[in-house]
């Protein structure tokens, strides 16, 4: 409850559209088995409600899975032995600032794109070791085998 109030107060106090760097860009919504979120070098076991920030690294272990939802309604879920880094996230349509760049180093993912892809499709991409996926507003699966 305290956290809710603080976030709410912050959102009201901040100048229009200016987001604190520390603001969460998404949250973990479900976890099974071994999964973690590393933000600013701190590795934490993933739980329902764990925040995700720009730069966060999301990992699942063997047998693990995890689902996350971002502020712009992008939904990503991961199968076992997966590693995804959120490289860039900008969601300020009022300023025309939109970007969602992520990198899937290994594993499997189901990606359902959100508002950023709707407003500016060329701002959304998923890098992998062998190629980059451009997202034109859609639902897709991607697997990276090491």
């Amino acid at each position: 409850m305290t956290m809710n109030r603080t976030l709410f107060a912050l959102a009201l106090l901040l100048p229009l559209g200016v987001q604190a760097e520390s603001q969460a860009i998404g949250f973990v919504k479900n976890v099974a088995g071994e999964a973690s979120v590393s933000s600013a070098g701190n590795v934490a076991k993933a739980d329902v409600g764990t925040p995700i920030f720009t730069g966060s690294i999301l990992k699942t272990g063997s047998g693990g899975s995890m689902g996350v939802t971002f502020r712009d309604e992008t939904v990503m879920s991961f199968g076992p032995n997966t590693e995804l880094t959120v490289d860039e996230y900008l969601y300020a349509p009022g300023q025309g600032k939109l970007k969602l760049g992520s990198k899937l180093s290994k594993g499997s993912m189901n990606y359902v794109s959100g508002v950023i892809a709707k407003l500016q499709p060329d701002a959304v991409s998923v890098k992998t070791p062998t190629g980059t996926i451009g997202v034109r507003g859609t639902n897709f699966l991607v697997k990276v085998e090491e």
Partner: protein, 196 residues
């Protein structure tokens, strides 16, 4: 079967078999609303556009998109698909002309939104104000924020509990109905509630 057709058939089967031999690949699915989008794969070996559901291509861009068998999708992606969170839900609220008073219909929707929010794990909520394109962009930003803030206060009074709550303005830059600048459009004067 003519020789040519036979040759084509053999070629086609060959494509199916090798079409997605790559272990690193992407598959397009239908959107949750039933429509089909597009993805583009750019790799060292080329660029491919995928625009058919259940079709996939290697991530290095080397192969034309080809149909992927459902059994292979289940095997490779069953766990990732099963982990997909409940999809976000969105509500639109409208205002009486010239102020921050909700219409009766929108007012009546609040209780349902609050109930739905309570049923989601670690729900994070955005309350986003929008305007139409009439008037200048800065004033529209401020007006949209004011409307969003009034909705946020109302919902909190009525018992909204959120893991995180964001109140923001998209001004005139995220139109529901596309219009030129300086166009009054009641459907664009709205507050969106996103439950995630």
């Amino acid at each position: 079967m003519s020789m040519i057709r036979k040759a084509l058939m053999v070629g086609f089967l060959g494509m199916l078999l090798t079409g997605c031999a790559s272990k690193s690949y992407v598959v397009l699915l239908d959107n949750p609303d039933g429509s089909t989008g597009k993805i583009v794969v750019r790799g060292e070996k080329g660029e491919q556009l995928i625009d058919k559901s259940m079709h996939g291509a290697a991530l290095d861009g080397s192969q034309q998109p080809a149909a992927i068998e459902e059994s292979r999708i289940r095997q490779d992606f069953g766990a990732a698909m099963a982990a997909r969170p409940q999809l976000p839900e969105r509500f639109l609220l409208y205002f009486e002309l010239g102020g921050a008073t909700l219409t009766a219909e929108s007012q009546a929707l609040l209780a349902q939104i609050i109930r739905n929010a309570a049923s989601r794990p670690a729900v994070d909520v955005s309350i986003i104000g929008h305007t139409d394109t009439s008037g200048n962009a800065e004033q529209n930003s401020a007006l949209a924020l004011k409307r969003a803030q009034s909705v946020a206060e109302l919902m909190q009074q009525q018992g909204l509990k959120a893991h995180a709550l964001i109140v923001e303005s998209h001004g005139e830059r995220n139109l529901l109905i596309q219009t030129p600048d300086e166009t009054p459009e009641p459907r664009n004067r709205r507050v969106e509630i996103s439950l995630r």
